[in-house]
């Protein structure tokens, strides 16, 4: 079992599911620290809203890139120093699906 699980994780490293602790940490980051510009319920602030309806038209890749590398010339900063591509993709899925209240 354990060995099989290990092989599985290794072969799908980039799409490996996130542990629940990391998920909780990312959700906390979203609400608290992304929330300082985007609003803690993602309804927008100085920065635009990150609600499902506001993101629906934008391809995932563009949103993932915005998170990892920021949007130069705007206040959106790069987060690559603490968020990896796999995690950014997970965050975009959360945002597009709508954060639970």
């Amino acid at each position: 079992m354990l060995a099989a699980a290990l092989i599985l994780t290794a072969s799908t490293a980039s799409a490996a599911p996130l542990g629940s602790e990391r998920q909780a940490a990312l959700l906390y980051l979203l609400r608290q620290d992304c929330g300082s510009c985007h609003g803690s319920t993602m309804g927008g602030g100085l920065a635009p809203p990150l609600l499902p309806q506001s993101l629906a038209e934008t391809p995932d890749d563009a949103l993932i890139a915005a998170i990892l590398d920021g949007r130069p010339g705007t206040p959106m900063p790069p987060w690559r120093f603490e968020i990896n591509p796999n995690e950014a993709a997970w965050m975009v899925r959360q945002l597009k699906g709508g954060l639970a209240e």
């Binding site: 609003g39 319920t41 309804g43 602030g45 100085l46 206040p75 900063p77």
Partner: protein, 397 residues
Amino acid sequence: MTLVTSPARLLLALLCLAVTSGAAGAEEMRGTGDLGIVIERTAGSVQIIETSERTSLDRIEGLGDLSHASAVFSRDGRYAFVFGRDGGLSKLDLLTRRLVKRVLQAGNSIGGAISQDGTLIAVSNYEPGGVRIFDTETLAPVADIPAIYGSNGARSKVVGLVDAPGDRFVFSLYDAGEIWIADVSQPDKPAITKFADVGQQPYDGLITPDGRTYIAGLFGEDGLAMLDLWRPEAGVRRLLDGYGRGEEKLPVYKMPHLEGWARAGDRIFLPAVGRHELLVLNAVTFSEIGRIPVHGQPVFAVARPDGRQVWVNFAHPLNDTVQIIDTQSLEIVQALQPGKGVMHLEFTPRGENVWISVRDADRVDVYDTDSFERIGSIQADKPSGIFLTARANRIGL
């Protein structure tokens, strides 16, 4: 349950009734000078605190989305007006410890101010962009100032709203790069004076304690925009133009605040944007005196009321630290690590203590500002802003 029959019992019952029907806080008469509130940003609640014994007195719930919430006080220090992110404007009675009234006045708002005479509350809104003015007594709407700019009717987000002497409010238009003065001597017909092209993306503003100088911080370029309210006809002047010296900006993980900015003696201390520095200006000429390298992107730089120290907190991911600067030597004399998520600092009116909210630890800590010892702490749910009633008597707060 037995029937109350004896006179003594009857008296007791009446007494109990008197206490419960009277205000919760009115058992003992008290002033409000040592009271304040702590915002619990996620829970949408506020704690009422007192700074003499350093305790929490009560909690008021149901105030909506309080991320980034701020507050001002009525001139008698009894009522707090809390500006929520979701456009909620709540009036709290600090003595009876009740929510008096709450209105949802916009979709998304950022802060507010109270007029010089205390009769009007102005709220700055992101959505719909503009300023709305309310009666402090009833929270009834009095005037609406849409922040329309350019030729296509676009509305700008409004930031940096402050009160100014002479029945005025001053604020900045983030998207438009403008500063507006609203004269509300006729409250329902505000007279607006506009200053265009003040610089790109003003993100916050401050007014000096004498009510004379309004300064907007710029995000989109290195510099500050300054307006002399004694001589508005002279227009907006640029301060510290190009203070970044063309160097690439560091990423900003939280916007700095200018409210609570620090003046100490003849010096002003302001957070730089995109550099880990405090900018030091001459308070008379507003020219640069120097810079102080600090731990991270500064968020608040607040002077102890006597002006001898400036306390600074920082943006994510360096938000576990507070640095203290001696305003004479410009040296960092102390660093504290209250915990992760230091959101705000508020001094007691005479500066012997400072209250610090530590979001991730769910605590508000109280420090002695001479010994730097932690001398108290209260539990709070994701605390952010701390506002003491002494603000009631200060221009711009």
